[in-house]
């Protein structure tokens, strides 16, 4: 049994907000005791979902090495990324790539589109000569359904959002990493182009054996392409498991609410009940000790305040939810 591709162990990230000179610091726990494993083979698409501010981007930044963990480890192919040497980091960068949410911002407006390819070819020394480099770029672009002559000499603002995002995929393809962190790659492109990008992801997974950490708040796309799903609530895992299993049969009260709130694209299937949000303050005052969802939970009881609930298995194939409702002995008691 080979070691996992990516292993995140007890990752906690605390931001010091404010600080600097002149103001007092405040702590924001963006990620708490987070665990995640992506197997080396076969390649999978692992979805991270959750409401805004639940720590999804934080996780992406951690994996990409833009920020550092407050505690815990991120281990890539058996090597802790915080212990890497300079050359190992370069190697890691080559193996772990990213596609970001904003397809415009990732292009330096000063350069032509080809700059994104030149950059990786130069820094990762991918080419033996120029024509080989050309060929590889072309191959990458073809894989996402684009042609080099159409786009390479253009400036980023001359491309459509969908094109820009696909070029990012082509770029990742060119590097052939083992893992691509895709932070909301489709949320800014419109419905008709979304499918094309998701399709590229599937293709890369199946044909190139590239795994994805697919970050989204859109459960329906996750449902379409994801293998595993992790649903975060305020920095902790609320529920995780195979995508279909979790979305079809959510267990955690929050995940139930979330799934239920996704508007159905069917005029005959309208929302029936009104939902209410508690006051901001109540939501923010979530007890650090107990379950963070307590203030909003329809099923809450005092036991929830004792400690943050661990993950309890709720179905086979590792479908787990962090809710005391599923604590074996307690469930019996209730």
């Amino acid at each position: 049994m080979s070691q996992p591709l990516l292993d995140i162990r007890n990752a906690t990230k605390v931001y010091q907000v404010g600080g600097g000179i002149g103001s007092k610091k405040k702590e924001v726990v963006a990620l708490q005791n987070f665990n995640l494993t992506i197997a080396d083979k076969p390649a999978t698409i692992t979805t991270i979902a959750g409401e805004s501010g639940s720590g999804k981007t934080t996780l992406a930044n951690l994996v990409l090495g833009f920020t550092h963990l407050s505690s815990g480890n991120i281990v890539f192919q058996g090597k802790d990324i915080s212990d890497m040497t300079h050359s190992e980091i370069l190697d890691y960068r080559q193996n772990v790539q990213a596609v970001f949410q904003d397809p415009f911002g990732v292009y330096n407006p000063f350069y032509r589109v080809e700059h994104v390819f030149d950059l990786v070819i130069k820094n990762f020394k991918l080419h033996k000569n120029d024509s080989e480099a050309r060929d590889r770029i072309e191959a990458g672009l073809n894989a996402v359904g684009l042609r080099g002559e159409d786009i390479l000499r253009k400036y980023p603002h001359q491309l459509s959002g969908g094109q820009r995002q696909r070029i990012m995929m082509a770029r990742a393809y060119l590097i052939k990493p083992k893992l691509i962190v895709a932070d909301e790659p489709v949320s800014m492109v419109d419905a008709s182009l979304r499918a094309a990008i998701l399709d590229v992801m599937l293709k890369l997974r199946d044909e190139e054996n590239i795994s994805f950490l697919y970050i989204t708040h859109d459960l329906s796309t996750a449902y379409q392409v994801g293998d595993q799903i992790y649903i975060l609530y305020q920095g902790s895992i609320a529920e995780r498991g195979p995508t279909t299993s979790v979305i079809d049969k959510p267990h955690h009260p929050y995940v139930q609410l979330l799934v239920d709130s996704v508007p159905q694209p069917d005029p005959d299937d309208k929302w029936e009940t009104d939902i209410e949000l508690p006051d901001e303050e109540v939501m923010r005052a979530a007890d650090a000790k107990g379950c963070r969802f307590y203030p909003r939970c329809p099923n809450r009881w005092d036991h929830c305040l004792t400690a943050a609930p661990p993950l309890f298995e709720v179905a086979e194939n590792k479908h787990e939810a962090s809710c005391y409702l599923y604590e074996p002995k307690v469930a019996v008691k209730r």
Partner: protein, 352 residues
């Protein structure tokens, strides 16, 4: 065809009254251009539609197709370098274009209110929430006692489900959902005839989005206003609107009741839109449309969708399709359909 008929006939009671519903807002051949160094961006290329009393009309289409521009065009708020090139906008039978600045200003908000895209930036950061609502009231209704205004604002807050304590707060102290609801409260405070909601929920979380959307629906029901809802989330549209206008590159390509459109979209672009909605219910293969949008400064002759249309025909490249009511209350601009002598609609491609 018969399916569409049925779905049409067995919708809610409100929908049945459409036949005798009064039109409130009539947009006719509205054209808006943005001047840029490389020529005019034709953001709105002659669109026409009618909004009926008490109705919610959805306006959908991909990003950049001119939805917001249309909304701002109706309110005559196009910023330079944009300008209205032509068209008519009739509100309760009165043509709005050509009204003096002053007269139009009086109409704003009393008749036409806006819930803007991105409520995050739509509130003045240096004014308290209540001041921003009060200044509309004072401007349009004249000075009145402080208590009266306060009472009114608090009532509004209640309507949209905002706590009274935010009365004295600044916008940055509110969450996104709250800001959005402040905008809604502001939009309805003068009981306008028409409310235009530009992507008023798309920046929000699903859960919050749902709460806000429900608020919007509730308010609309309560006040009986007509509403134009702009958005690109088809799911949300399905939940909220009565009728949908599908825009593509500055044109409306199809207008139909929400049921017809979801059940039986006719324009190829509408079909793509409907098909590519990812479902939470079943896993299905992704439907991909190829091709890219044309340069908005330089539309091709003929049909604007020709570059991406799976059914493109020769006629599409030369002749611009016009809007035709192919089915009752379903207007489509596409060469694919022909109405034969009997009034039957025929798909040209299918028959060929």
């Amino acid at each position: 065809m018969s399916e569409a008929q049925t779905s049409h006939s067995n919708t809610t009671a409100k929908a049945k009254n459409w036949a005798d519903a009064k039109p409130v807002l009539k947009v006719d051949d509205l054209r808006i251009h943005y001047e840029t160094p490389k020529g005019a961006v034709i953001a709105v290329a002659g669109i026409s539609f009618t909004l009926y009393e008490g109705e919610t009309l959805g306006l959908v289409g991909e990003s950049g197709c001119g939805k917001s521009t249309t909304a701002y065009g109706i309110l005559q708020l196009i910023q330079p370098p944009g300008h209205i090139v032509g068209g008519e906008i009739g509100l309760e039978g009165k043509n709005l274009i050509g009204l003096s600045e002053r007269d139009f200003r009086r109409l704003r908000w009393t008749k036409l209110a806006l819930i803007p895209q991105g409520a995050m930036n739509s509130l003045n950061p240096t004014m308290k929430v209540h001041e921003q609502i009060a200044d509309v009231i004072v401007t349009h209704e004249g000075r009145q006692s402080k208590e009266k205004i306060k009472q009114r604002i608090l009532d509004l807050f209640k309507t949209v489900g905002l706590p009274a304590r935010i009365y004295d707060m600044f916008p940055h102290e509110l969450s996104g959902g709250m800001k959005q609801r402040v905008c809604i409260a502001m939009g309805i405070c003068l009981n306008p005839t028409v409310v235009i909601a530009d992507e008023s929920t798309s920046a929000l979380d699903v859960v919050v989005q749902r709460v806000v959307a429900q608020t919007l629906l509730k308010v609309k029901e309560l006040l009986g206003v007509s509403m134009i809802m702009i958005g690109h989330d088809m799911g949300l549209m399905a939940q909220m609107v009565d009728r949908i206008a599908v825009m593509y590159a500055g044109k409306i390509v199809e207008i139909a009741s929400v049921h017809s459109l979801f059940k039986e979209p006719m324009h190829p672009y509408s079909q793509v839109l409907i098909d590519s909605i990812p479902s939470l219910k079943e896993k299905k293969p992704l439907k991909i449309t190829e091709g890219i949008t044309h340069d908005p400064r330089n539309p091709p002759p003929g049909c604007i969708f020709q570059l991406r249309c799976p059914h493109v025909m020769d006629v599409c490249r030369s002749k611009e399709p016009v809007m035709r009511e192919l089915k009752p209350r379903q207007e489509v601009a596409c060469h694919l359909y022909e109405v034969d002598a009997k009034g039957e609609v025929k798909n040209v491609a299918a028959s060929a």
